[in-house]
């Protein structure tokens, strides 16, 4: 991987970030104004901090797995 390459991402999340089920078993239940509540890698419920100007989701296994500055 070249130094300028973006970090690897989950091209195909294993779990739905809105309900935690296997992605193959969820037809898509996420909604536009909800932050992720489950880890895309392991399906564990995230500790989500929502601030007026951003949010972040932390998995007890994988650390900070999702964040936005708005």
């Amino acid at each position: 991987m070249a130094a300028s390459d973006p970090p690897p991402t989950h091209a195909t999340p294993e779990h739905c970030v809105s309900c935690g089920r296997l992605a193959s078993e969820c037809p898509g239940c996420g909604r536009e104004l909800d932050p992720p509540h489950f880890c895309a890698t392991c399906g564990t419920r995230l500790a989500v901090l929502v601030k007026p100007t951003g949010w972040r989701g932390r998995c007890k296994v994988h650390g900070e797995v999702a964040a936005s500055d708005r």
């Binding site: 809105s18 007026p52 708005r70």
Partner: protein, 360 residues
């Protein structure tokens, strides 16, 4: 939410207007009702009665823009052109023992929200600084609790002056039901405004909350006022209450006379008893924003949760229907519009940003 369920959470966005026991007014009746309200609020400068509000609630859909225009004029006459901007932060999320049927933070329901402990002071300060940077004058520290225990009280009393002095923001707190002593200590500790919503009419409240009473909420609101904090007391529309019950709530708010009333529209939360409720329609939302202003002409009337899914691209219409304050950015557990979009909207409408307080 059950991870073993075979069905995804499904929501309808079909508008669900409040049930009304009366037919709409005809156009001539609507014009007369609007003229009478204009006379009362702009010439006589008196509050509307419950009967007058009930008539205005029945103007036909085609008269809602006229209702909104009157509400905007009333807002300018009673409150001036300024708009107050506020940020809110959940400093203790989830795990609440109460069973408010609309809330994803209740431990009574299986929702995606994970309970988290009281945030560190540095995290709260960072959020407050970011809120101040977008032009807000108010910052509300919110906890999902029935009421504060002594440890929580100590944390709040430590936190409030730090955040206020570091950011220059007015600090509001929302920490549930208070005792007399707790209300006094929070007031003495520098809490500028305390939020405690009635949410809905007394007659409808038992259908959405069973772990505490509407009267307990009213008692806390009275304590807030008694000890000199500004009272922020909001409503949540779209839980199945009728038009008559919305009018009932408006008259109860008139009696309570809060400084601020945040108007929320139900954003159905997965896993809660109201998770499948219909979303309030945009025109119905504008109608009720206007009616809140006409019922409460001097109050700080704040755009709050649910406006994004209810009004979608019609956000500016609410600002010209009686609103004179807004929550900027995200909410407690859900996301909102970008602060930049809201600030641009206010600039486009030539509405200056400023700190507000009760007019009367």
């Amino acid at each position: 939410m059950s991870l073993t369920s075979d069905q995804p959470v499904a929501l309808t966005t079909k508008p669900g207007p409040a049930r009304d026991s009366q037919p709409p007014l005809d156009p001539a009746e609507a014009r007369l009702a609007l003229r009478n309200a204009e006379q009362a609020l702009l010439d006589d400068r008196r509050l509307l009665t419950a009967d007058e509000l009930a008539v205005l609630a029945r103007v036909p859909d085609q008269s809602v823009p006229s209702l909104a225009a009157l509400a905007h004029e009333v807002r300018l006459a009673w409150c001036g052109p300024e708009v107050e901007v506020e940020g809110i932060l959940s400093v203790k999320t989830g795990g609440c023992p109460e069973d408010c049927h609309f809330c994803s933070q209740s431990s009574a329901f299986d929702t995606p929200v994970k309970a988290t402990p009281f945030l560190d002071t540095d995290e709260v300060l960072a959020a407050a600084r970011e809120t101040a940077a977008v032009g807000a004058s108010e910052f509300c520290i919110v906890l999902a609790v029935r009421g504060p225990d002594e440890r929580t009280m100590q944390r709040l009393l430590d936190l409030v002056p730090i955040v206020r002095d570091e950011t220059g923001l007015n600090i509001a707190v929302s920490a549930g039901i208070l005792t007399d002593e707790q209300a006094r200590r929070l007031a003495e500790g520098g809490v500028h405004r305390y939020n405690h919503n009635l949410e809905t009419a007394r007659s409808f409240f038992p259908q959405v909350v069973t772990t505490h009473t509407w009267e307990e909420r009213l008692d806390t609101c009275s304590l807030v006022r008694h000890y000199g904090m500004e009272l922020c007391c909001g409503a949540l529309l779209g839980m199945g209450e009728s038009v008559d019950q919305r009018i009932e709530l408006l008259t109860q708010l008139q009696d309570l006379d809060p400084t601020e009333v945040p108007v929320n529209f139900l954003n159905p939360r997965p896993g809660t008893p109201l998770g499948e409720a219909q979303v309030t329609g945009a025109l119905d939302a504008i109608r009720w924003i206007a009616l809140f202003r006409l019922a409460l002409p001097s109050v700080i009337l704040r755009y709050a949760g649910g406006r994004e899914i209810t009004l979608r691209e019609l956000q500016a219409l609410g600002m010209t229907s009686g609103i004179n304050a807004l929550i900027v950015g995200n909410y407690l557990t859900t996301l909102g519009r970008s602060p930049e979009d809201d600030l641009q909207m206010l600039a486009d409408l030539k509405m200056p940003i400023g700190a507000l307080s009760h007019v009367i």
